[in-house]
């Protein structure tokens, strides 16, 4: 299966994971935006 012209799943899965981890960083940052402040007991 060609994905954007790339035939090897071991390559395009790498791209999918890179984008997935980036999304995870964004979600984590938003979910914990106000957690762990100096007055929050951390």
């Amino acid at each position: 299966m060609l994905v954007f012209g790339i035939p090897d799943p071991q390559i395009w899965i790498g791209y999918v994971l890179a984008l997935g981890f980036t999304l995870a960083c964004i979600v984590y940052g938003f979910m914990n935006w106000n957690r762990g402040g100096a007055n929050d007991g951390s």
């Binding site: 012209g5 790339i6 035939p7 790498g14 999304l23 984590y28 929050d40």
Partner: protein, 522 residues
Amino acid sequence: MAVDTLLMTVLVLIYLGATLVIGYIGYKQTKNTEDYLVAGRNSHPFVIALSYGATFISTSAIIGFGGAAANLGMGVIWLTVLNIGVGILLAFVLFGKKTREIGQRVKAVTFPDLMCKIYKSPLLQYISGFIIVISMPLYTAAILIGGARFIEPTLNLPYTSALLIFAVITALYVVFGGIIAVMYTDAFQGTIMLIGMTLLLVLTYLAIGGVTAGNTALTNMADLVPKALASQGMTGWTSVPELGSPIWFTLVTTIVLGVGIGVLAQPQLVVRFMTAKDNRSLNRAVLVGGPFILMMTGVAFTVGALTNVYFYQHSGQIAIDAAGGNVDAVMPLFINLAMPDIFVVIFMLTLLSAAMSTLSALYHAMGTALTVDLWGRGRECALSLRSNQYGIILMMIVSTLLAFVLPISIIARATAMFMGLCAAAFLPAFAVGVYAKVPSTRAAIASMLSGAVTWFFWTAFVHTAEAKPLGLCQYIFGKPVLLPLPWSVIDPLVIALPVSFVVMCVLQWQAGKHPAPGTVAA
């Protein structure tokens, strides 16, 4: 190079002027040694994220690993997966918060100082300080080379002058402004890098006919893989090498694991956690850090591989041939030939930013390791601004001299070597140190030493890529390496990290079963 010299000069001067002004603001905010070493533990999340990212990503990532992708193909993207998953998510969430909390509690100011205070062992401070002082100049020299390689043709300067100017200007604001100046300028430089790399991705795909067309063209070039690489397992630029082949081992063990895991225990990055005011700052930094790293390494590795399409379409050669066999020259050549003039200037500023942000952090980490952790340990002078400034200047000179003697195509390899050593020596002791209730000093010392010694042994006597040019094995044993394939292509990290990890775990477990008299939980 057809870039207008006046335009180039004006923009470079504006960039340098802005950098020095921001550095000066950092200098004015530096009131005491804690400011100079850990930014008063009060950094803004945006500054932490960009400073961490810009320090993490250097010319090595863009020039060295971009060139490695031109040579080995898109499989290098797995390094981006680890860069984000391990280098940002794991590093900030698992290690960053604990490091900040402990660093603040014990008032640690450097990575070796943190290790010393966690384990209550000055010896650990000496060992980690020593490892930093002897290994970090190698990485620093690689970054200097990467920057100078691009400045040389772009500004038409002799290589020596390019390297010296580069080294001195960066040192200027580090020496005077300390880590506040370093982090402020990092944030500014990180912003430029983000703009530059975004443009690079878009313009590259435009130059080769779009995403699918460009990737397909690269896929169709598989039969152009040089015979020497094909015989070592390379199958094309859009497929991973044959499982278990020498190139597969190099890609997976040296490039992906060596750098991907090595980032976790890099002293100059760990210190950034200690500059955060609270865990909220680190949570917010994750949001900025992930996308930043994706746009740095993801773009560099993708574009690196795609340069083959451009060179083949325009000169009938693959990238490495067009660059005269020098991996480090592929990206600069591509930018100079394929990009519009104005982008050449923007990319030069991007590279300057990438190099200066990492260089400044390394100068700071090396200089403070020399002063706080080795020469001045336990002495009051260790915490004087003047002593740390001298330490930074001395380490800058050492790194610059090293840059003149390193061979070509060294950038990616030197980076992987430094990161591999950091992981092998520091990671188990660091991880246990921040999490264990009663971390064992004996275990940490044994782990650090076993990791470093195994790494040195494998590098000097087994791993062909380093052992052969080093010549020590040949001199002592009369043969270039001690072990045959596949051992000779397995990166030292893959051997040394498990060794130091097992040593740490076994001795820590023993210490837990038989605690020393008087030992209490931290």
